[in-house]
């Protein structure tokens, strides 16, 4: 026995890129859409205040059904297998990449260029900002190019950030309000942010955008069928062509009855890990190294960005918790102009409590109790702490890769992915120079504010991972074209994070979504426009 579900478009995965791509196609095209999600549904809004309270009191996961036991990677993975994906947890921060991110080879002779430019993506950045609802401030145009204003005014700078901005002005580095998918006013039926300050992992009011809002609306309107708890395990070709015929899945509630999804177009939207994983799992006699993998690039060029951070003690009184999730951002070093040696990074400032927390032992090791704790705490709050962080781009080696680990299998026998990030040689050679450059910026800022650097840290962690199905014009070195259409299968698209050529040096989610919307426009071209039917 098998169950067959038919549609025009089958989207595999229900994260933020999938949600907004589905919304766009549903609005613009006459096409039936089925979305397949391996995880469970998302907790309803009504439960979120309780979940948040328990998160604050006990540290409990507010999304306890967000993963499948045994379905894990070896390597960087944020567990997030539920309707809405990782963006159910996200902080809602939405910077764009800068034009240079797409042309590092042409401009600086390192890494690889993307097959698209910033200008190609600008309309989709804007569309992503409008669909999510982004509150932002136009930075200096030469650093922050935009064709249109943000859909909402910026989140106001808190009292703390206002003081920190005065500090950064002394350092003569332009900072402005970090754009965020949080409502600075009522937007799309969702309320204005009220500084609950637990944006990640959970916003209790809906002021922060999360993909469940889109899915709930699409389901309510009958525009998509979302099938949850169903794990797609293989893509199967048509008998006499390289088109995808159907996807084979496992219903976790009825594992003995295979489910087949038949569609005219298949959209793999499983993020940086599960998208290349599915393509590799789908190897067959005609594509023995995996579907869409005649180039051998599936699972290769995994990318992201590392960071250097510092805590700086400053002569200013800051009050913890006014709106500590919000930050200042600068793109000064994302757009450095000409330089003798390549280094690019973003720069952000937050308030911090490091060095200002209550404690039970003083410097002498004496135990503090009663009024002593409060006195000691107060004595350390006359100065404030700022957190600085710079993401710098890591240029991936080809062997920065996701592979199938046949020694680790999920409960249904599928080999699980192993992720091994590797810098290209150029990136390795630049690392010390990059990190020292960032530290010198931190030192300059500390001096400008009569501050003292409390600590500096360089992290090996590659944040906002991407790649694994990179886009390109050359089918020999890339998996898909600039729209995510795979070179090998004209009805198979990969969208969002996996298609990135490099990870840029800013949070990636908005870029992943913008890429997904650009793909959605192309996917939709095979279907009649919705307005033609009205």
């Amino acid at each position: 026995m098998r169950r067959v579900i038919e549609s025009d478009i089958c989207i595999i995965g229900s994260g933020i890129t999938a949600a907004l791509a589905a919304e766009k196609i549903a609005a613009e095209r006459d096409a039936s859409i089925v979305v397949v999600e391996a995880g469970d549904d998302t907790a309803s809004m009504g439960n979120r205040h309780v979940s948040r309270r328990r998160y604050l009191a006990y540290g409990e996961n507010p999304w306890p059904d967000d993963h499948i036991d045994g379905q894990t990677t070896d390597g960087i993975q944020s567990r997030s297998m539920l309707v809405g994906g990782l963006a159910m947890h996200w902080g809602g921060v939405t910077p764009r990449f800068s034009p240079e991110d797409f042309r590092v080879k042409s401009l600086y002779g390192v890494g690889d260029d993307w097959p698209i430019t910033y200008d190609d993506l600008d309309p989709y950045y804007l569309e992503a900002e409008e669909r999510m609802g982004v509150a932002g401030e136009q930075g200096p145009p030469e650093l922050d190019p935009r064709s249109h204003p943000y859909p909402m005014p910026r989140l106001p700078l808190s009292y703390n950030l206002t003081l920190l901005k005065e500090w950064s002005d002394k350092a003569e580095i332009p900072f402005w309000s970090q754009p965020s998918a949080k409502n600075s006013r009522r937007y799309a039926g969702r309320p204005e942010c009220c500084r609950n300050d637990t944006c990640s992992p959970i916003c209790p009011t809906g002021a922060k955008y999360s993909p469940d809002f889109t899915w709930n609306e699409l389901r309510r309107a009958g525009r998509v069928e979302l099938i949850k708890r169903t794990l797609v395990r293989q893509l199967v070709l048509e008998d006499n062509s390289d088109r995808i015929h159907h996807a084979v899945a496992l219903d976790r509630d009825e594992p003995d009855t295979p489910v087949e999804f038949h569609a005219r177009a298949f959209v793999v939207a499983g993020g940086y890990a599960w998208s290349p994983h599915l393509l590799l799992l789908s190897a067959n006699s005609r594509f023995p190294d995996g579907i869409a993998n005649s180039s051998g690039a599936v699972g290769k060029y995994m990318t992201g960005h590392r960071n250097v951070s510092a805590f700086v003690s400053l002569p200013m009184k800051l009050y913890p918790g006014i709106n500590s999730s919000h930050s200042l951002v600068s793109k000064r070093y994302m757009r450095p102009g000409s330089m003798s040696r390549y280094v690019r990074h973003d720069l952000r400032i937050w308030e911090s409590t490091v060095g200002r927390e209550p404690r039970l032992k003083d410097e002498d090791g004496s135990i503090l109790l009663g009024d002593e704790v409060l006195r000691d705490w107060r004595s350390r709050t006359e100065r404030g702490t700022a957190r600085l962080r710079a993401y710098y781009d890591v240029l991936p080696a080809q062997e920065s890769q996701l592979t199938l680990d046949r020694s680790r299998r999920n409960p249904w026998g599928d080999p699980m992915p192993r992720l091994q990030f590797r810098d290209s040689k150029a990136s390795r050679d630049l690392r010390t120079h990059t990190e020292q450059s960032i530290e010198s910026v931190f030192a300059h800022m500390a001096r400008a504010g009569d501050g003292e650097i409390l600590s500096t840290r360089s992290s090996d962690f590659q944040d906002h991972p991407a790649g694994g199905c990179r886009m390109g014009d050359d089918p020999d070195t890339s998996v898909c074209d600039e729209y995510g259409r795979t070179h090998d299968h004209d009805n198979l698209f990969v969208i969002g994070a996996p298609t990135c050529v490099t990870g840029g040096c800013a949070n990636g989610t908005l870029t992943f979504v913008a890429l997904g919307l650009r793909s959605a426009a192309m996917i939709g071209e095979d279907f009649p426009a919705a307005d033609q039917l009205r």
Binding site: H67, S78, L360, I367
Partner: protein, 196 residues
């Protein structure tokens, strides 16, 4: 006297029960509506280790909040997991039994050293006993309350994680983690002294 008997009873229960979640539940059921910690001893502890600036009622309120926090604690609950890790961690065992044992130990030491109940000692006397009993703990930073090895540290960790503690320290109505108008975020928080 009745209170001492109750403490004695709880102490004997604590000593007799193995450290297991099911037993924790059983202990909690011996005192419906409370955390399972002796309230009088916990309040005496609170008045010794919490700041006097809270006032007597304020300290009692914090202790009551601590009882509620402990009562609602669930061992084995999945902890929030950060970005970039597939590891899933869970809340540890219910600390009630070990914390009650420590309260009993505070009482025993008070009896042994001063021939007085811990409750009858002045605050400095109580703090002296607490200091001795936590001197071997790492106290360089306050842990999550449930990870505190000693009930005194658990109570302090609980209090200092509250918005009330931050407001008290800064003498300002910050109200962290509360829903507050966005438009007010650029303003310096109102001084509690000014507000009275």
């Amino acid at each position: 006297m009745a209170e001492i008997n109750r403490r004695g009873f709880l102490g004997s229960v604590a000593a007799a029960l193995p450290v297991a979640a099911a037993s924790h539940r059983a202990l909690k059921r011996t005192k419906p509506g409370t955390s399972g910690l002796d309230d009088e001893l916990t309040r005496a502890l609170g008045h010794a280790v919490l700041p006097a600036e809270l006032g007597s009622d304020g300290i009692d309120r914090v202790v009551a909040g601590f009882h509620s926090w402990l009562e609602e604690y669930e061992p084995g609950a999945e902890l929030n997991h950060g970005y970039g890790t597939a590891d899933i961690e869970f809340t540890p065992d219910d600390p009630t039994i070990s914390w009650q044992s420590q309260l009993n130990e505070l009482e025993r030491e008070a009896q042994r050293r001063f021939q007085l109940s811990f409750v009858r000692l002045d605050s400095e006397g109580r703090r002296g006993i607490v200091r001795r009993q936590i001197s071997g703990d790492r106290l360089d930073r306050l842990p999550r309350p449930y990870r505190a090895r000693h009930v005194a540290v658990g109570l302090l960790a609980y209090f200092y994680s509250t918005p009330e503690a931050t407001d008290l320290c800064y003498q300002a109505a910050i109200g962290k983690n509360n829903c507050r108008p966005l438009a007010r975020s650029p303003r310096e928080p109102i001084s509690l002294r000014r507000r009275g």
